[in-house]
Symmetry: C2
Subunit: 1013 residues, 2 copies
């Protein structure tokens, strides 16, 4: 290798020498751009604000709006510490900026990186480059494709571009001549996700089934025209599907012998090496040459953030030199297999280039049998050097409008200012060639935080991302990971679990009272809402006598459980969490059948249940330690908590494991004993939860499983004098009844009844005139229609500012028309059946009411006939006082309300009885702050969906008629299940007292279980 390193250094030095011959600044556009990049590199806060401003700018149409945004983004900036450090005052920097100057400057910046508006426009650039012996691959920029309409439009634009390029370049020849047959002049890069709006990582076959017929005509035409086609890579979620699609399409007889096709390998991915090997094997099987563009990868921040948020191990290397080293590894693999694959090295890093050159030399591969691909508008001197050295250079040339180009622009700005980027190191920081040409393997730090390659085991936190070292063990909490369905083995496991669950249809589940199975002679059937003739299971129906026995059992068990140390109770929850993790797919599968959840929705529900167990275990550990109230000489005064007694948990069916587990685990970990009444439509899921607590070793009587009819046993239990705690989540009607009933103190009742009450919502999202519509549309569709709108957090009212209304609605309606409605047994379904016939009828009735009050702007057609499928429906021209704008519907129905401005938007949003969730899409800092302050909701979400609260991160719950402000999954939640108690000891005896406070014996502070009353 060291001889290779010598060659690398010589080749690299040569490039640098050539680059330095032409003292052109890397930032070719001087003035605004150069100044901005300079500050951005010195000041992180400025950089963030600047790039955010650039991001929003293209969507602003009014000049005053542009100036206002500028003011908001940089207001008070020179008060920021980092700005002070740079010694720069924005106030002195910006006054000469007007809206038009700004727009011109930013447009200028964008034009630096975007090669042209369209096919015709781009030709000017391509011709100029041709004169410099630089080739091109053209990429069609576009907004995120959120509907099939947009996908179709994109496909049409791609076809048109293809034709234009072919036509306009007729007669062009290869600039180098040699090996020209490998490198057609016209090279088109296709962004696969733009061809289908419903790609779901869990359903790659389905995506491919849609994409193949869509791409085939374009490919056919390209082949006819002798155009090279490259499949670009975007985020990791689409990677496997894109690879599969590539292989499947180009194995088709029609394309099997076509050599001018290529795909991208992203070296920052840990999968890259394996994927590359697989591709090469495929290529050899196929028997025709193909190409691979090797890049580092452009979504590093995004992948890191997404995996962190979902608690996945990062698919990308976390150290930049790791990606660089992997790039070199893949370079060698490519060149080792030059006989079947043509390599394109997509990099601006001279070291990476020099390595490829050196290794190719070592392998005796001609200079002209591979190429370097660099981005349009960047690293001009390097391109020139490469050309001069006789290498092939191709520019990646984006084509498109300013608006969709902004996200591309921001990525380029980030790349140029990145601390770890090559260009910054070379051209801004002037590192020496020796430094720049070092072997990246030598730069990988051994203490770099390299996460484990597989998902963390259940209930354990990532060691790499572990909590503060000072936190006592057991006090740190991290969410369980979601199942990442991008991995085929997870898809497989889910399918197997579904088969298994189906095989168990019809099983009978008895009550569990005091640890014993109890049947009552009556069975309640639980049906599959996708196919109501299928009986998922039958549960015993409890009556009054069983309810009384359960209270007795819970009361008896309280004696022991209330005295069990908090640590042991916390451990029980952690065992339950581990059990859920073990039976994770099984539980998901049952939910798919019992309540009609889509795969990811079901998995999210299990994840949330696990999180509740882990979070409340951690919280109880913290609360379980008595804390000194105040340091006073001669006294020890400690606060600690006692459980309340027997708790009744009444849960809904829509998060059948999560919400049930949340309330049950909170009650149990705090030392209370529990009677758990699951909702009737999800009683089987409830039985499984009981099983898991039993497997985890819950003592008899501490948890009792009591399915039955709310009208029979619910009221009886609420009124029972020994039931002192009621945790309820469900409808407003039932919640208010429980609240009222629990207010009455009955003879023999030992405590005031405490009710934790979570009810409904009528949730609004406001769309500002500068909202990023790519995100807005996708998130609103998901918020409104995910799980058929059967979430208390679901979006029910979309409030759109009139300035933006038409654009929003156009994309929204098209997006709604594109979502998949069907049996959620299949992956990739957004909308399945509603839970039961009652819900089905109720929702259809509300739709009928809506039709009288407003306009049906969209209603899905072709929903399945069997099962309780309600067509997703969007109403427009909805008045704020319409019933569909005020009453909770709990189904896939969205009311859209057009408003004049943000004042009116807030007024409308806040005008309902509920205050559960609310959302806002905007890129105006001032408006965001205002909505944060004024939107009346328990959970306010900015620039994201209003559903999907994560335990610990988004303590969940509302107020007004949405509930008591209880915040499940929040730090205050457990307090509601506890009684605070103070123990004060005078530790002064005859005038002397220890100066230091001894450790408190926490384990003694348990409540005496047996109380006479």
């Amino acid at each position: 290798m060291s001889s290779l390193q010598g060659v690398i250094e010589r080749r690299g030095q040569r490039i640098f020498d050539l680059v330095d011959q032409y003292p052109e600044s890397i930032f070719t556009k001087a003035g605004f751009y150069q100044k901005m990049m300079g500050i951005s590199m010195r000041d992180e806060t400025f950089k963030i604000q600047m790039f955010r401003f650039v991001d929003v700018l293209a969507s602003l149409r009014r000049s005053d709006d542009i100036v206002e945004h500028l003011r908001e983004y940089f207001h008070g900036m020179n008060g920021f510490v980092p700005m002070m450090q740079t010694g720069l005052r924005v106030a002195g920097f910006f006054p000469w900026l007007t809206a038009s100057i700004l727009r011109r400057n930013v447009s200028g910046m964008a034009r630096q990186f975007i090669a042209g508006k369209d096919g015709a426009d781009v030709m000017k650039t391509l011709r100029k480059k041709r004169r410099q012996k630089i080739g091109f691959t053209v990429d069609l920029l576009g907004e995120a494709v959120v509907s099939e309409k947009e996908a179709d439009e994109y496909a049409a634009r791609a076809s048109e571009l293809l034709e234009t390029l072919a036509r306009e370049t007729r007669g062009w020849t290869d600039p180098l001549g040699k090996n020209a047959e490998l490198f057609p002049v016209v090279n088109l890069s296709l962004k696969i996700s733009a061809f289908y709006s419903q790609m779901d990582p869990a359903a790659p076959e389905e995506a491919i089934a849609h994409l193949v017929p869509k791409l085939r005509p374009i490919l056919r035409r390209a082949k006819e025209l002798g155009v090279f086609v490259n499949f670009d890579m975007e985020s990791y979620a689409q990677k496997n599907a894109t690879l599969d699609l590539f292989q499947q399409l180009f194995t088709e007889p029609e394309f099997k012998d076509w050599p001018h096709v290529g795909i991208v390998i992203q070296a920052y991915l840990r999968d890259a090496e394996r994927d590359l090997h697989d591709l090469i094997e495929w290529g050899r099987r196929r028997g025709t040459r193909f190409a691979v563009r090797l890049v580092k990868g452009a979504y590093w921040d995004y992948e890191k953030i997404v995996s962190n948020q979902n608690r996945w191990s990062a698919p990308v290397f976390l150290q930049k030199p790791e990606s660089d080293a992997n790039f070199e590894l893949c370079t060698r693999i490519l060149l080792d297999n030059e006989s079947i694959v043509t390599a394109a090295f997509g990099t601006h890093n001279v070291r990476s280039m020099a390595h490829a050159m050196a290794y190719a030399e070592e392998k005796g591969i001609e200079k002209t049998r591979f190429e370097f691909q660099l981005l349009y508008g960047m690293a001009g001197p390097i391109k020139r050097a490469l050309v001069e050295m006789g290498y092939r250079v191709r520019e990646y040339s984006p084509v498109g409008e300013l608006l969709p180009g902004m996200s591309y622009l921001v990525r380029r700005l980030l790349e140029n200012t990145s601390n770890e980027g090559f260009l910054r190191a070379k051209f801004a920081e002037n590192l020496s060639p020796a430094q720049l040409l070092r072997d990246p393997n030598d730069l990988i730090t051994s203490n770099g935080r390299i996460p484990p390659p597989v998902e963390t085991p259940p209930g354990q936190s990532h060691s790499a991302d572990g909590a503060d070292q000072e936190t006592p063990p057991g006090d740190s909490y991290q969410n369980a990971p979601l199942i990442n369905f991008v991995h085929p083995q997870n898809q497989e496991q889910m399918r197997a679990a579904l088969r298994q669950a189906r095989a168990g249809f019809g099983r009978q589940y008895p009550l569990v009272i005091n640890g014993e199975k109890v049947t009552t002679g009556k069975w309640m059937k639980s049906l599959n809402p996708s196919a109501p003739n299928e009986v998922v299971g039958e549960v015993a129906e409890a009556g009054i006598p069983e309810a009384d026995r359960a209270v007795e059992a819970a009361q008896a068990a309280f004696a022991g459980w209330s005295r069990t140390p908090a640590e042991e109770r916390a451990k029980l929850l952690e065992r339950v969490a581990a059990g859920m993790e073990r039976r994770r797919f099984e539980l998901s599968a049952v939910e798919v059948y019992e309540v009609g959840k889509a795969w990811e929705e079901a998995d999210g529900d299990i994840r949330e249940a696990i999180d509740f167990c882990l979070f409340y275990a951690q919280q109880m550990r913290i609360l379980g330690r008595p804390t000194l109230t105040q340091h006073v000489l001669g006294e020890e005064s400690y606060q600690h908590y006692w459980p309340r007694g027997v708790a009744l948990v009444v849960a809904p069916w829509n998060f059948p494991i999560a919400i049930l587990t949340g309330m049950v685990s909170a009650a149990i970990v705090t030392g209370n004993t529990v009677i758990m009444k699951p909702a009737e439509p999800s009683s089987v899921t409830g039985a499984l939860l009981m099983e898991m607590f039993e497997e985890a070793g819950v003592p008899r009587g501490v948890l009792n499983y009591l399915p039955g009819h709310g009208s029979v046993i619910g009221q009886h239990l609420v009124d029972h004098p020994q039931v002192v705690m009621i945790a309820f989540t469900g409808s407003r009607e039932v919640g208010l009844r429980i609240w009222e009933s629990a207010g009455k103190t009955r003879p023999g009742q030992p405590e005031l009844k405490r009710v934790v009450c979570e009810m409904g919502g009528k949730n609004a999202i406001i769309v500002d005139s500068d909202a990023d519509l790519d995100e807005t549309i996708a998130d609103c569709i998901y918020s409104a229609f995910g799980y058929q709108g059967q979430k208390c957090s679901a979006l029910s009212r979309l409030i759109v500012l009139e300035e933006n209304y038409d654009r929003v609605m156009e994309r929204l309606l098209a997006a709604a028309a594109s979502i998949r409605v069907g049996n959620p047994e299949e992956p990739g379904i957004t909308v399945g059946p509603v839970v039961d016939e009652r819900a089905y009828k109720r929702i259809l009735e509300m739709i009928e009411i809506g039709k009288k009050e407003a306009t049906v702007a969209f209603q899905a057609k072709n929903v399945p006939n069997d099962g309780y499928f309600v067509p997703p429906t969007i109403f427009t021209s909805v008045k704020p006082d319409a019933r569909i704008a005020r009453e909770e519907i709990f189904g896939p129905v969205l009311s859209v309300i057009k408003v004049r401005d943000l004042d009116q938007a807030l007024e409308v949003a806040n005008s309902v009885d509920y205050a559960l969730t609310g959302g806002f899409f905007s890129r105006s800092p001032a408006n965001i702050e205002r909505v944060k302050a004024e939107l009346v909701a328990g959970n306010v979400y900015i620039n994201r969906s209003c559903t999907g609260a994560v335990v610990g991160r988004h303590p969940f719950g509302g107020f007004k008629m949405s509930g008591g402000g209880t915040k499940a999954g929040g730090r205050d939640y457990l307090l509601q299940f506890l009684i605070p108690r103070i123990v004060t000891e005078n530790i002064m005896r005859h005038g002397f007292a220890p100066e230091e406070t001894p450790r408190f014996r926490a384990e003694f502070l348990v409540r005496p279980g047996e109380r006479k009353s």
Copy 2:
């Protein structure tokens, strides 16, 4: 001074030389004692446990009990870190100890310091000492005197001792001969507090009026017998009274010319110098010689703890060298005034002695005109050296039984092991003479924490005892100081305030609605319960229309107030606190008249109100800062709190400012608006609170003052749909009615009604068989009868273990018979009138019921006829199921229940409907831990009274039928007035997000005031 230092060093060196001639160990008793002292000096934890064990030992009668206590005190000790450090294992140290060996050893230790059991017994010692030319002063040890019976017994014993000593020493002559007329052979030290059980710092005249006739015969006889009488000094609380008593008595014609009287000056007191000057001036006026014993002071820990707990500036110097230096200052004053005062230097410190010698030489005072007083059993070699040098030496010789001697023993043990003590430095640590003889002024560290000489201004914390430096400003909280009535100027201010209040009798107080004074034509009179013909004031009576107007005003004010930043709301409370501090005596005085509170009780109530303001201000500052829920890349998720809306506060009369302020200030600081309905008997006090909020600038409508009849406006307001929060403290009956009524959600009601509900108690204290009865009796009397038992925390059931029963009852009944019942306008009253005629009748009725259920063991006689004075009453032979053992009486009535053992005690204690406060007196670590764990009460108090919870230190409130577990003055309290809200922002835009979380703009997170519903 430096020539003086030279003499000091020479004299000191001479003492050391003489001491070293006789290589006698300082710890003359070898074996157990020596070993124990050795470990104690090395191991602080062992020392504490050992001394505590010594403290309890004398009260243990059964051998197994002694062994059990030993085990408990040292169980697990060698697991303690400090023990590990000493490398010592208690397990290896104690196995040879049996109960009798232990008792013998500890008795031996006690005998080392106690000169004899009684007058006859002590003579043996005194004769032996006479042979060593050492004189004596005899002190009579005794338990704390908790009743007049005990005081009488003490006086009798003192007389007897006087006679015995005079008789047995007949013919003894002065050992030195010279100046013998100044130093009678017999010298008797009197502990003044033992002659009167009801000494109250606020009422020194009253104490003196009792003490003068009691002491006069003893003094008269001493004078006759030629005996010297010295008044000892104990705690600071009695110091002024003792000084006054001394001067008053010895100015009486009978004693005016008696030179053989002395008093103690404690050099550790900051007052010492001034007191000494005053004494000398008095002596010169009197014209007869007298004596002063100058000591450092023996209650340093106690004074420091008491002042810290009451937030007083410490009356003692906090650095040992300061006391030493002050001792020298006082030495010089004494010697400067040798013409009128004879000095006795009570010290073991050779430097202090040498300084006295040197200064006396400088002044030309003969060696035999002053004396050194050292403690019996300590510093033998030093005494011998002093004698050899020709100085007068007198031993302070305690006489008494083992049990009362234990506290004296413990003080000696502490002195011997003190890190700062001279004896330890010299004899255990062998410091060099040069070190030991240094000028103490050179040892005072400039950064020593010397607190300011005056009480800290209101609302500010002691800078010296300030909180953690890392705590943000405003986050630290410290209780306001109590008024220290030991200072005459405070007594004066209180008297002036009472005159002022009386002058204001009959004033009329209108309602305050929306900042406006409102009258209704109806006036409710508020009477003085000590003299019901006196009208303290008249308040306007609100009806339904005023209630509705108040709700409207509060609703309207919510818009602005809910948007007012938390910091401003906190500041309002702090201004209210400052106003209360300013008007502190005025408020107390009104309470004395309106609800019959004793001085200290009234002041405690104002202090608590101030504390509530300060504490909730601090808590709101903490809650007012949004907190990140979890650190996740690409997201900012903050939790913060919103107010609820209009709150109704319904308060009781028994803490007329404190509880009202607590609920009002909590509701207001959290951003709610309030309708405050004070209890009818304390409406005038309520009006003053309104005034104080107005003075502090509460915006109009934010607080509305609405006195009236609960039956009329209370129910109406509770049911009002716009009242969403009710804070109630009062009776169980009313509490349950409010709880039930608030459960109903009415049309137009925006929120579920939240009720903070504090009700009654039936509080028990358990007295263990090893309890320290000195503390037990005093604290139980105070807990049961303080403020006439009209505290929800008051002791109502005294549960006594049978082993101890007779001893407890004997002292308890005598103590009860000694408390002062009367008009609390006078200071020093324990029991005043109950609040009104209704209460008076109800309590007398309960006493009648008690008479049928149990035995009246005590009932006070001679209570005033006017006013609602209920005689303090103690029932014995009370069965646990008697009505007087189960129902709240809320008056000066105590039921005593005898139980077999702790099991039964807990069973009885926990068998009532209530769970508010509870107490336990014990010195068994195991029993204490058990009761901490098992006593069912919201506030459990060990070895102290069960009343007098302090805000922040003892968050207050109970469960079961005592309330909702809400804990006023605790860290969870404000949460009940708030709604948690989460604001989550996706801060990722096109794949990029700032790595660092920007600061959150807290001020924006205010609730929009106007809500449509």
